[in-house]
């Protein structure tokens, strides 16, 4: 994905995060949000290997071998950070103490089902902490490209890959649109600058509910 699109998604994710929130970001695209938290807004980031208060990446040469995030990348600790064991880390996650988690997806559907951990016969990396995160976080946001590399919609009527969790996703942020999962179905809340509502409908396999005023982001 082009850098400007990644930045656009990162900025849109950041709008969902509020001052004082405890947040867990999945590896890859979701971490873009870190660069877009407004000054004066304090968001505490968790890394599920056992830390709250994750800071920026260290400068070259200042990496600490005992300081990594859940993706294996080197990190720093902000003032007020804490370290804890993996069971405590997942007590924080599963116990509903994380305000929001942002994860990538292979597929997401109208009922808020998420598939992001395996493609049978192709890719079996394991679920890691994703199932616990999606089950326990107060708000589950999916951040992803709207279509896969073959141009197929990743927003579906029904996921056909093995699920990570059932009916847990509440918001989907893509390079084309922001979609809210509601009991009535997927609501097209916002579209990316330069696109039309029809562009999004054409690129989406799932049926969308189109409000009178669709905003740009």
């Amino acid at each position: 994905m082009a850098n400007d699109k990644r930045a656009m998604i990162g900025a849109r994710i950041a709008k969902e995060l509020k001052d004082g929130d405890y947040v867990n970001l999945g590896i890859g695209l979701p971490t873009e949000a870190v660069n877009h938290i407004p000054k004066g807004v304090q968001v505490l980031f968790q890394s599920e290997n056992g830390m709250l208060g994750v800071g920026p990446n260290p400068a070259a040469g200042e990496e600490d071998k005992d300081m990594i995030n859940a993706g294996g990348g080197f990190i720093t600790a902000l003032p007020g950070a804490s370290f804890f064991d993996s069971a405590t880390s997942f007590a924080i996650i599963r116990g509903g103490h994380i305000d929001a988690t942002v994860l990538g997806a292979l597929q997401v559907d109208m009922e808020g089902n998420l598939a992001n951990w395996m493609i049978p016969g192709k890719m079996v990396p394991g679920m890691g902490g994703a199932m616990d995160l999606v089950t326990g976080a107060k708000k589950v946001i999916v951040a992803m490209e709207h279509c896969d590399k073959n141009g197929n919609s990743k927003v579906l009527t029904k996921c056909n890959l093995p699920l990570t969790a059932k009916a847990k996703v509440s918001l989907i942020i893509t390079d084309m649109a922001v979609l809210q999962v509601t009991p009535e179905g997927l609501v097209l809340c916002e579209i990316a600058e330069g696109l039309s509502v029809d562009d999004v409908i054409k690129a989406t396999e799932a049926k969308l509910i189109i409000p009178q005023n669709v905003k740009y982001f």
Binding site: N69, F83, G128, M131, L163
Partner: protein, 218 residues
Amino acid sequence: MAKIISAAEAAAMIQPGSRIAIGGFLAVGAPETIIDAIVELGTKDLHMIVIASDWETRGVGKLVVNHLIKSAQVSHLGTNKAIQAQMNAGEISIELIPQGTLMERVRAYGAGLGGVLTPTGLGTVVEEGKQIILLEGKSYILEPAIASDFAIIRAQKADKLGNLTYSKTARNSNPIMAMAGKITIAEVDEIVEIGELDPELVVSPGVFVNYIVITKEQ
């Protein structure tokens, strides 16, 4: 009192077929010196209980690359191509477990519990073949405790009673695995006298630790 032994002596305790809970997360906080000693000895048919299969050249990935693992309970394989190849070739059997569930199942064993009830995995393949329990209107999967013969972990400092402190995110699964071994062996950077560790800063009480090995890792 924990006994101070060499990595080779630690490795020699482990028998073919042993079930070993090993600490670390993507090889950070992994007991590399003991892992190297097991590789050196070449003890086969091991069952490992780990968060992740680490890297081919670091952490428990070295046990996989040397074909010492016959089965594993693990949450993530994505950083180790060797384990995926061995799984696809039927050489290694894998139970994939959500990371939080894995930790609670190991902790349960160490804590004398039969298992745990968790909502994680409901509506997914994880619940297949398992008992679902309805409690106060909510559904949970009954997940049994995971037993292990040995826990091999990594800490920063040990005193001679086996009280342990950890370093930053190298703590990760180590204090949990430490509880669960019938025999627990801690690899540490430094061994200090009894009384030198502030009791407030001890994370794993020495009661969990049987043996201490000094690390060779730089």
